[in-house]
Symmetry: C2
């Protein structure tokens, strides 16, 4: 194994929710001691460019370059390219800022040269002097398709951005997942971590594909006592995005219990919001230790406080 990966705090991450958590985590843990394993199943190809929304949100956040108003994209952004796309009648629902385009141009060029996504991700992070290790969960392309009664099966970003996830969903399919390999260092990072945090990202479309890549769930099962997940469902709602509706439409309960059930094989610890503390006993019945705290990360201080609760929970048992 890569000795740099020994005894790290590893975070399984989607986009915005995970980025908020990371903002706090770097306040209570040495960034060089953190590894983030990031979903790539919502990556897309548009205008010939490879776009990795979750990787970029995590990287831009750790670089201090995120647009804090939107939670995605870069600050000090320009929109000249989009204005031209509008003029030409091109695709205008997926907003690509001028600075952001620089990232996609670089990544696409490097991928076309044959560089793996993990290498390109590390190059981008290094240029921002990000000390956290950012690992795409896989170097293989995985494409999420969403089944809808009205539009048939559509691409994830079509569902998520174009339709603002405001349509009925009957199924989710991760194309390429069965043959995707965990990226370099991903399994080692999980196996040798001191503790593993599952960010309050969407359990279906952000954490779901991470867990579905062959080898990852098996590795997590063996580390169960050192895995803590945070519920992204608070008071019956998702703090952001379509998690609540997706959970319901795909047959899950819209509650921390519904999320805990999805993770029941791989987490030993679950953290829910104080407002949901009446769910503790239901979660404990799943064989998962449950802690209630303030999980709503309205600022980096709240995020850091949450991380201060999470760390002892995932570090509590001796590493396997």
């Amino acid at each position: 194994m890569n000795p740099r990966l020994k005894e790290k705090i590893v975070v399984l991450a989607g986009g915005v929710g995970a980025a908020k958590l990371l903002k706090g985590l770097v306040k209570v843990t040495d960034p060089a001691n953190i590894v983030v394993i990031v979903n790539v199943a919502d990556d897309t190809s548009l205008h010939g460019l490879r776009i990795c929304p979750d990787l970029d949100t995590v990287t831009y956040t750790l670089a201090g370059e995120i647009n804090t108003e939107t939670g995605w994209g870069l600050k000090n952004e320009g929109w000249k390219a989009m204005e031209m796309l509008n003029r030409y009648g091109g695709i205008d629902w997926f907003k690509l800022g001028d600075r952001d385009l620089g990232t996609h141009l670089f990544r696409t060029h490097r991928l076309l040269q044959g560089a793996p996504l993990s290498t390109v991700t590390a190059e981008i992070a290094a240029s921002w002097k990000v000390d956290v290790t950012i690992l795409p969960v896989s170097d293989d392309p995985i494409n999420t398709f969403i089944s809808t009664p009205d539009l048939g099966e559509i691409e994830f970003q079509d569902y998520f951005v174009r339709h603002q996830h405001n349509i009925e969903v009957t199924g989710v399919r991760f194309e390429g997942i069965d043959t995707a390999l965990p990226g370099p260092d991903v399994l080692d990072a999980l196996q040798y971590a001191s503790g593993i945090i599952i960010a309050p990202s969407n359990p279906i479309v952000s954490i779901g594909p991470i867990l579905a890549i062959p080898g990852i769930t098996e590795t997590l099962k063996a580390r169960k006592d050192n895995v803590v997940a945070v519920s992204g469902i608070v008071n019956g709602k998702a703090l952001k995005g379509p998690a609540a509706r997706l959970l319901h439409e795909l047959g899950h309960e819209i509650s921390p219990v519904g999320v805990a059930r999805i993770y029941s094989e791989i987490v030993g610890n679950f953290v829910i919001d104080n407002i949901d503390s009446h769910h503790i006993s239901s979660i404990e019945k799943l064989g998962i230790a449950c802690t209630a705290t303030d999980t709503v990360m309205i600022d980096p201080i709240k995020s850091a406080n949450l991380c201060s609760v999470l760390l002892p929970l995932c570090l509590s048992e001796a590493s396997t």
Copy 2:
């Protein structure tokens, strides 16, 4: 044939030199009566995007959006994407402005959708309300390679932009030219034109590939009396770009006579600068009528004056 193409003034065009000519031509001819057939052999793929420098220079010029200081690219341009590429250590020698990127994004997306380059070119021109008909000489990709003693065979933009055409050349190869088809309407436009102007573009790498596409030289030969070319070599130098050095290194004379020889089978009329009038007899010996005038297009008025000389020359004989 497409009746819209009957009895037009057709211009064979590279980039900057042709764009200057067109600025004048639209002052002395109804733009709706002009068809430009544009070189595509210097097109390139970079960062996953399809880039067509000559088409864009012609379109941006006719749209009144060209950066008049550089002669290429757009005015009111931004450079945020390039700043990011610099940060990442990406390719920074091919300057892609933020507005310009919008064009490449749109074109690449449409090409990936299966639209031919001619269709995309028309869509872009229409969005700028350009009345001149802009035809890529071919919808098929043609890639120019430059043989050099020092670097081996390199791509055209590598030679032209990265090395500022400041290296020795021993050969030019147009990959794909033998199987390239003339674009829709290209042969009809030539066959049914009232007059045909070969712009003072580079005879080797701009006009050369246009003439090398199967069918085009044959069509021009039959229209020879209605074809007029302008020398891009004035007083032993190219007004812009590597034409002089390329002519010399590839065994041609650096003079209007050298250019006229290249075009001798397809032009009935040749226009040179007053300063080169001592070459008239040599050109006439090639069987080409030769006229000297002021050919240096330092402003649109000079361009219009030149076009006023060109038009009667190519319209002088009855259409075949």
